[in-house]
Symmetry: C2
Subunit: 198 residues, 2 copies
DNA sequence: CGGTGTCTTGGACGCTCGACCAACATAACG
DNA sequence: CGTTATGTTGGTCGAGCGTCCAAGACACCG
């Protein structure tokens, strides 16, 4: 194996771990499966990570950050009215789900893993803190650029939005009913519109 | 160990498995942990079940059925108007979540387990089919007794309701913000009311 | 050059897991 | 009673797991 800095190897292992998890699920992401995916000998693992948990922790934060960043990229269009902007954003989110269901699935699996792992509960909490924050940012930006204000407290509205998206995704992962899922998002978009006032 | 019919032992093992899962999570529910919880010797397990998967399958259907039954019990009050009925039902559901978070958590864990396990995808699909069906029943019964009709197709509305409940639960499992969670449910209830017409 | 720190590697450890079985105990029934 | 069916038990198997380590290879620097 070509010589490589431990830092770089960490990154490759994290990436390999995510690939394995997306393909086979979190529980199948063993140390051996991960180094296998990365094409490295087993011994490398504990030279780069003190434990499997340390890698998992890293994976959780990376995946959350990337989800949040991806979501933030979505709401950059400023030239639409409120209705169009909401619709576009919800559908853009949904495209992301249908395009890579595995990533979202892994997100949920990691949440439940963290909720059960002693000392990891905080990670699950932070995960949802970030999600809520990004939704709140979106709602705030949309309101400002449209010159309206929300008739419902922003944290509550953000949680509502987060809940619908999570719930629709979860249900779709099980039954793959894309048509109904989109209808629910459309319905939610219309609902949000009624919660804005000048 | 007292002599017991294999059928009866199966039931006790299923119940013990559910207890272990609620307490420690699905992944910790090993054959040894389960028979330990049931106070039986290890050998019993494969006398009653051909495999661990067979037990898991049984647990999934039992837990789904019990959730559905519990949900059905909630919407029996016929004497309220539509708004009161919706509010009562949503809050009753929420009481169930806060009262036994572990059970709901296990529900999600089993869904993700089933989605990853070859040959179990159908079980996850059926799980959500049942959930959607029960929500649809509720919406239909509420509409009939209130003399209204829904302006949104029933399957879509049921999916919407299911999504909000799932999403709020999931988020609450992570951050335990009860106040905001209730606010989201209140908001959803009000929204549903606007989707009814005479 | 030699020495020191960094990286590489294959193998081994102790443990837990699902599964299996032979030997035994108890019931059911002619 | 004897035979057959059913249930009980402790031990054991092989596989896979996270973790660790000694020995070597390589790079850098005085």
């Amino acid at each position: 194996m070509a010589r490589m800095a431990a830092k770089d190897r960490r990154e490759e292992l994290i990436a390999a771990a995510i690939r394995v998890m997306v393909r086979d699920g979190v529980t199948k992401a063993t140390t051996r499966a991960i180094v296998g995916e990365a094409g490295m000998p087993l011994g490398v693992f504990h030279y780069c990570f003190s434990s499997r948990e340390e890698l998992l922790q890293e994976v959780i934060t990376r995946l959350t950050d990337s989800s949040v960043a991806k979501a933030r990229d979505v709401f950059t269009a400023e030239d639409d009215d409120l209705g169009a902007r909401i619709t576009k954003t919800l559908l853009a989110f949904w495209e992301g789900v249908e395009l890579s269901p595995g990533e979202h699935q892994v997100g949920y699996e990691l949440t439940h893993y963290a909720l059960r792992q002693a000392g990891f509960e905080e990670l699950a909490r932070r995960q949802y803190d970030h999600y809520l924050e990004v939704h709140q940012e979106f709602l705030l930006a949309a309101a400002e650029s449209a010159g309206i204000r929300w008739t419902v407290p922003l944290p509550v509205l953000a949680r509502y939005l987060n809940a619908v998206l999570d719930g629709v995704t979860l249900c779709w992962l099980a039954d793959r009913n894309s048509e109904h899922s989109r209808e629910v998002l459309r319905l939610t978009g219309e609902h949000l519109l009624t919660l804005a006032e000048r």
